[in-house]
Subunit: 269 residues, 4 copies
């Protein structure tokens, strides 16, 4: 096998018997985890020695991720053997995982290219968090969860629009009900919205709540509607997972070659 | 095509290739959104210039919505070609979306017709919020969510009656358990009801909670029952979405005309 | 029809064309509702006139419910025409709804029978709340919700035992983690249990919460487990409602008389 | 029947007609319950007499559990009659329930074997809590709940990883949004994490919440995402319970031996 083939096998995630492939996966996963912990640590007041250590780690990890990114592009033509190598690489570069890989290293290089620091230090740190999505490559189950969410996106969006309508209406109702009694808490409709979010999602921090009879009745209605706000997306996703499960089983059934009627050749189930 | 036909095609939402139709949809959606934002903004302390600007927008948007409403009535006979034009329009006027359209503009015209201001300023603002429901016209997925909710309404109502029984019982139990220990918090059964709502829906603001052993045991039981209060409607809606999904698939199956056994004429599935 | 038959038709709930039957149902439902509102009102500081009015209403409504109870027993033999009248009435008296009817009036008569007041005034009021269950007679959907809950009771009980195990373990863990930092809040394992209930059911009043690193990590784990505590019973009930739905549909299928294989007479589905 | 056979029948949980077996089950369940209550009680300030009483109970219950453990090992060869007795016992000792039984008594004997007290007093108490899992032996429904959770573990893990990604990202976002406004509350990213947990799981204690416009918008988004955090695992488990139900029904169908078409041998259902 060519060097490119070997590299491809090593950097490709999944159940390869190659020891080097497993080590590579572990190193990348460890670097992602440490990279995120490092972003966390930088929000603490750190002694300057640790602070410098984190910076060194930052530089090293970015170089490793850059190398990984370049290797993945180099070997991308093996993913689509039927395409010309250039097009195969272009297709790969535009795929979701490759974009995540690029965004995870880009903020480090931007200040070198641009004459001025376009992004503030904070934004850079937050963009580095995108590295967390590099984990996705290593999970099959996650892919199926994403598939279900994607399939049910229109219904979930519809449910979200309903929630949005409910939020807007209840925020204005509660504002008119409570503004006179608590002018400092329910200052404007935006305060009402904050209350409506906390109530409809059943978070209920307790920083803002109705005290008038009228507001409490409204609060009761909205808290009960909040049950529906949880129940509708859950019902949609439940039906999605069940649909996914049935499809999967149907495909397994097809494999045994006995599911078709001997008379008309139709699938019998 | 006649002018009426062209107007009909433009104002009808959905996947028309007509550029004017798309522009019309966008303008209406933008006006609805801005109209709602305007109701929000009016709850803030605004400089008088912005305040007057909002009023002008209010007048203009109402005129546009009025024109839209009239055009929809004018072209309503094309929706039901089999009916006489007058009846077709009457049927349209009494449909849900047309009523929403009317209610969204009515409060603006009422003071002109009636000799005195029937509705206060606040109520007018709140009724204007109904414009939010005009969004519904533009979503297919929302229709299917509404269908499931409608189908399961008896079961959901039954679940709500159970919740109501639970609320009434727990509000009185907690009142008797906590009234002596916190006479100012658990003043009467209505305070108990407010606590029961916050606990059963798991909102839990923290403005009122039991402090006695007896009240905490009761709170534990009610908080655990609160899980059921979420689980039952969710289960009902889940089964509704799955039923909807299966029906939809069955109908798709029917369309290919090959789902019946040629020997006995039974549906093969 | 005999007088008994007419009375039976009137007091039986459901879709009778008899006007008297509908009036009877409405009167009973109104009396139940007013009876519950009256229990609520008695927790307020009422002027003595209203207080006396409520007492008079209490006496009248109890007499009406007593009459209803006796009429139902009298006509119970028409429910089971195949049994001897005495046995039919005994069967009815021991049914769930009849026991609720009896308990709803019993506390009023007990002091007359017994030489001393066995039950305190409060307990009597609370027992009167049982009248709320008389509503159940008037809902079909509620029956099907109860059926599903009953069917899934073993699984729900198992889930509750898991919740109980989780509650006990987390209450002790949090006690050991937080007792030293907040000895007044986490006084003993019972305080820990109260916190665990509020966290696992996601109520979160905010009267008690961890402040140490160790306690917050524990709180994070338990709050995440709380998702499961909601998800498991919901999943169980979802499957229950779907099972109920399928059974119901199967029974409807049976009615059309075409579901059996012409060759072997087996149900084809 | 030999003595070993009789002992085996007595200590085996389940529907035995043997009176002694039922008594044995009740004694063990009562001892487990009392043992857990005793761990609870020891966190209270107890009079020394009660304290000593609890210690005596502790010693006695441990001896009983030890005897139970030894008897279960002795009779374990009857569980696997096809294996040599020694192997059968080894298999049993390594089973989940036997490990729980051992862990529930081990901390009591360790100080006698080891020259120094390896585990602190607190840890010993907490390990004793494992006795709670001995309850599992007595529930069939629990087994099926466990089976579903086990089956769906990959999907649930994937959902948990998503929650973890969401938690990490929102904790850093909220830290950057709120740190300047509330430096004491949002001290570092760990405080942000604590807030994110409380919001995503909808617990919402109210000890920490955003006050800036930016933070509240972020809080709104995260609270709405929190709905998904509940909905996804619930959907996964719902589909799991439905799958379990269908499998169970299929197996029941198989038992009646009549589910296959006599003509083509295909399952008719």
């Amino acid at each position: 096998m060519s060097i490119k083939g070997k590299v491809f096998e090593i950097i490709q995630p999944g159940d390869s018997d190659h020891v080097a492939s497993k080590i590579f996966d572990c190193v990348i996963i460890a670097l992602i985890a440490m990279s995120i912990i490092s972003v966390f640590l930088q929000t603490f007041d750190l002694p300057s020695r640790l602070s410098r250590g984190l910076y060194v780690f930052e530089v090293v990890s970015t170089y490793v991720f850059t190398l990984e990114y370049l290797l993945r592009i180099w070997t991308a033509d093996l993913l689509h053997p039927d395409m010309p190598p250039f097009r195969a690489r272009l297709v790969y570069i535009r795929s979701g995982m490759a974009v995540v890989d690029l965004l995870a290293i880009l903020p480090f290089y931007l200040p070198m290219i641009l004459p001025f620091n376009l992004l503030g230090l904070r934004a850079v740190r937050l963009v580095r968090l995108l590295r967390i999505f590099k984990f996705n490559r290593y999970s099959d189950a996650m892919t199926s969860v994403w598939l279900v969410i994607k399939k049910k996106l229109p219904a979930i969006t519809a449910a979200l629009v309903m929630v949005f309508i409910l939020l807007v209406m209840s925020s204005l109702f509660i504002y008119f009900a409570e503004h006179d009694a608590q002018p400092d808490k329910f200052e404007n409709a935006f305060s009402g919205l904050w209350w409506a979010v906390a109530t409809l999602t059943t978070v209920g921090y307790g920083d803002i709540y109705p005290i008038t009879i009228c507001g409490k009745i409204l609060g009761t209605v909205i808290a009960l509607l909040g049950i529906g706000v949880v129940a509708i997306p859950t019902g949609i996703l439940s039906s999605g997972f069940i649909e996914h499960l049935n499809k999967h089983e149907d495909e397994e059934d097809k494999d045994d070659g006995m599911n078709f009627c001997p008379h008309c050749g139709r699938k019998l189930k």
